[in-house]
Symmetry: C2
Subunit: 393 residues, 2 copies
Amino acid sequence: MYNQYFYGLGSAKSCIRELFEYGLQQAAVVGKENVFDFSLGNPSIPAPPAVNEAAIDIIKNEDSLLVHGYSSAPGFADARDAVAKELAERTGTEIHGADLYFTCGAAPALIAVCKALNIDSNTEILAVAPFFPEYRPFVESTGSKFVYVPADTEHFQIDLKTLEAMINEHTQAVIINSPNNPSGVVFSRETLEKVAAILTKKSEELGRPVYLISDEPYRELVYDGVEVPWLPSIYKDTLVCYSYSKSLSLPGERIGYVYVPEKMTDAKEMFAAIAGASRVIGHVCPPTLIQRVVARCAYEKPDLEAYDVNRKLLYNGLKKIGYECASPDGAFYLFVKAPGGDGKAFSEKCKLKNLLVVPSDDFGVEGYFRLCYCVAKETIEKSLPIFEEVFNA
Amino acid sequence: MYNQYFYGLGSAKSCIRELFEYGLQQAAVVGKENVFDFSLGNPSIPAPPAVNEAAIDIIKNEDSLLVHGYSSAPGFADARDAVAKELAERTGTEIHGADLYFTCGAAPALIAVCKALNIDSNTEILAVAPFFPEYRPFVESTGSKFVYVPADTEHFQIDLKTLEAMINEHTQAVIINSPNNPSGVVFSRETLEKVAAILTKKSEELGRPVYLISDEPYRELVYDGVEVPWLPSIYKDTLVCYSYSKSLSLPGERIGYVYVPEKMTDAKEMFAAIAGASRVIGHVCPPTLIQRVVARCAYEKPDLEAYDVNRKLLYNGLKKIGYECASPDGAFYLFVKAPGGDGKAFSEKCKLKNLLVVPSDDFGVEGYFRLCYCVAKETIEKSLPIFEEVFNA
């Protein structure tokens, strides 16, 4: 006697996880150096030295009862202030520590927001394909419906007409993820301003806000100076979900936040609803040592050099072979059109050569595959001839 | 437009939190030394030195990408093995790392278990009063009904007849918390064996297990050599929820686990359901540095000397005045009968003297108040004359 839905969620292996485990098995057979695993989006550059220096200094010199003791539910006030200060300076907007609710990473941030936005069993949360597959269980488990706007496969921006048509009386929010996982694309200011115009119009028609949920763990991972517009400045009813997983290479430490702009509709009530939702998912007071670390490292920037080298090497190599690829301006992914048009079949074909690529189906679009280029440079160099082989096979 | 239930949960202040904040206000008026705050259950002894030594050593000498990278969803295999090994030795039973699902503390452990045990909207989870007040939102938010066995106010063990009578076709589990918050009482082996006999009988009648959920963050906080029986050895269908918050004084670091005994009914399916539930509450891969720390500190024991001194001082002082108090064998709480019989009124009376005690109502029993004795010894010494004053007033 156990819950069948959760049993299903817990026993179903994701396609990515299966590929990863297949890679480990194959490595034991053919050697690690002959397996080319582009499946997992785990940062491959270490945390900046300042992170570990701060952690050691805090452990050695701050009061242990404070460092390891409970903070208040949304986090230490001074840590939230420090993070808000940097964010305010960077975005040129007014942001206070009290607007931030620290969370154990972006996942609980998104879940708390989705719970806070669930009004009844008809509530719909809209995502834009391609999307991070966990959005579906996150939304559905809160009692809302998960629906998505099909991908704009020309530019991997947003199909605005369809977005507009899909917003109805039950739509509470639209999830935006830019820089995008899996496409690596950054949504342009033009795209986002049009989204804001649509949401503003729909909010007026419906007489209540249609919120924007900006899931932005890759915010700082952009190349060639591409702009990542700050969404709350474009659309006031934006809830920002952030994680330090990628920017500080701390995915295991589970630290991030929800930012609830002071000027959004019902800001105080929304903050309280997020706090209440966090309580029943067991996310009050995120890990305290790391709270203090990110507060000290608020001005740290990731060193993207290694990712950028990989990005250019892989992107240019694939283009030369003849692959078509979405504009790789951010995150650490390439989203590539599958030769033959079937992402799953192509992934299987690659697997036979120990080349592990994730078919696009779980991301809500068919006919593509995702490559994560946070791997060793050598892996890319050695894999290109195989990419050429499977392209022509 | 936001979820009203979560708004309510997030905006309602707990009685404990209100008292604590009142204490801070009063401290600004009359001086910190004249406020006697027994409201908050925050450890007052620091983490053992080995904890910080391990953290620094791990940061300095282990691979940063491993230390701060994602672990698998239930935690690092080697860390789970290390914790299982000590637990197996201590309990004299067979426990493997694969039976442990690491969590961000006891709260998400309990929530995941309650979610895994929710079968339909009639599902009932039974607690025993007095109980930790968060059980109610934890259970109710999973869609189950929260019901409780009234307190045995004679010994604060368990009213077995009522427990037996309350188990029905919808009862999925009984939550046991020993050493108990708020009573400080440790359930005896005799009590627990009788509970096991009742659950065994009911499970046979119902043709399916009635599970026991053992919430035991205070497991190691016992005095005078009192036994805390290992429940899975008494009743095989026991799910253990544990946190290092109290035993290693790490409440802020959010690390604990669910133990799913290999021999329990549907153990594999239950583990999978807990994993699935953890996914939708955003608790996969608990904080990694602290995972590695608790693995290294598996054999560390808390230094209870300071708590024990406080316990005796406060308990003996109150008894001498004439207060009646539950047997204070564990945790760091005293549960005291309110003179006059009204816990709330007595708490208000104390407040006027800047003596902060928590009325028992939120714990599911009337007419008592809780004292948390993880405070400075001086606070206890200076408060006893005030306890005498309000007793006689």
